[in-house]
Symmetry: C2
Subunit: 153 residues, 2 copies
DNA sequence: GCACGGTACGTTATCTTGTCACGTAGGATG
DNA sequence: CATCCTACGTGACAAGATAACGTACCGTGC
């Protein structure tokens, strides 16, 4: 199990994510506009899930809420960004790595969020729900606790 | 796998839930005040997850936000109520039935939320995270889709 | 060239959700 | 009976999100 969060520690990593994003966007027949690029970049640089209004502030100028929400919605549609419901915050995610099966491990102390592959757990869940007649479209797993670093400290 | 949501269809069921709640409360050395009882009752009667401000309105009088949030926080602390993050809403839950392992199946169409026992899935998740040094304290799984009734219709 | 339609984005206003800080009433305890 | 704690009230406001409408730009086809 490996952390999949698109958290660019290096310039090379960030460049790779951007290229990936461009590719996904083109494949979907959508435009990777400067605004969308900027928001995605801000997210890849964030050390923790970013709030909508914080991103908005970083856009400079005097952007209004719909701007950031529309952009985030777009990026989520393409699977480039995830929303963390329990935090009302957003993270960039590594394309391809995250199918529909993702888990976020959120550290209560440092705020870091790591994305994991849920593996078989979600398959089981889908099957179990199906036996009850429920058809799952989207699953969200958010686990909070202490990350390795914070536990050590 | 059985629905565990504390959604009282009958007066007898509701009375049972209230007694359970009183018991849990007493066991924790806390008071089950009229306000707390009223909020819990409202939740057991709800046909779907209830929003904080809707509950607030139903309290009658002119209750202010902190009143309902404090009360919900208290009930959550005792494990009598769950918050559904993706909806910003709350449900009563069946005490004892819900340990740490709960999943909500939320119907996109009718809004109904059923609580399920996550079974082994969460155990696996906890172990997998632990191998990475992450210590999970609380896990939240919210799956959206179509319930059996809505799929039929 | 220019009307047409679509996508992206700006702008204003408003609504919903949640919290902070402080005050008070009432019971328990010494 | 002074003190403390818990529960709750109150006013103010911060944070999160959306609705409704306008415009600029870019293509396409006549």
């Amino acid at each position: 199990m490996m952390p999949l969060m698109a958290h660019a520690h290096t310039a090379r990593e960030k460049a790779r994510l951007l290229r990936e994003a461009e590719r996904v966007c083109a494949a979907a027949g959508e435009q990777f506009t400067p605004l969308r690029r900027q928001v995605f970049e801000l997210l890849t640089q964030a050390h923790a899930p970013a709030k909508a209004y914080d991103l908005l502030a970083k856009l400079g100028g005097d952007a209004k809420p719909p701007t950031i929400y529309r952009t985030l919605e777009f990026l989520m549609k393409l699977g480039l960004v995830h929303r963390i419901e329990s935090l009302n915050a957003f993270v960039a995610c590594d394309v391809g790595a995250c199918g529909r099966s993702t888990i976020f491990l959120i550290c209560d102390r440092c705020g870091h969020a790591e994305e994991f592959d849920a593996g078989h757990a979600l398959v089981d869940l889908g099957e179990a729900a199906a036996r009850d007649g429920f058809e799952i479209k989207r699953t969200m797993i958010e686990a909070t606790g202490l990350c390795a670093e914070c536990k050590a400290a």
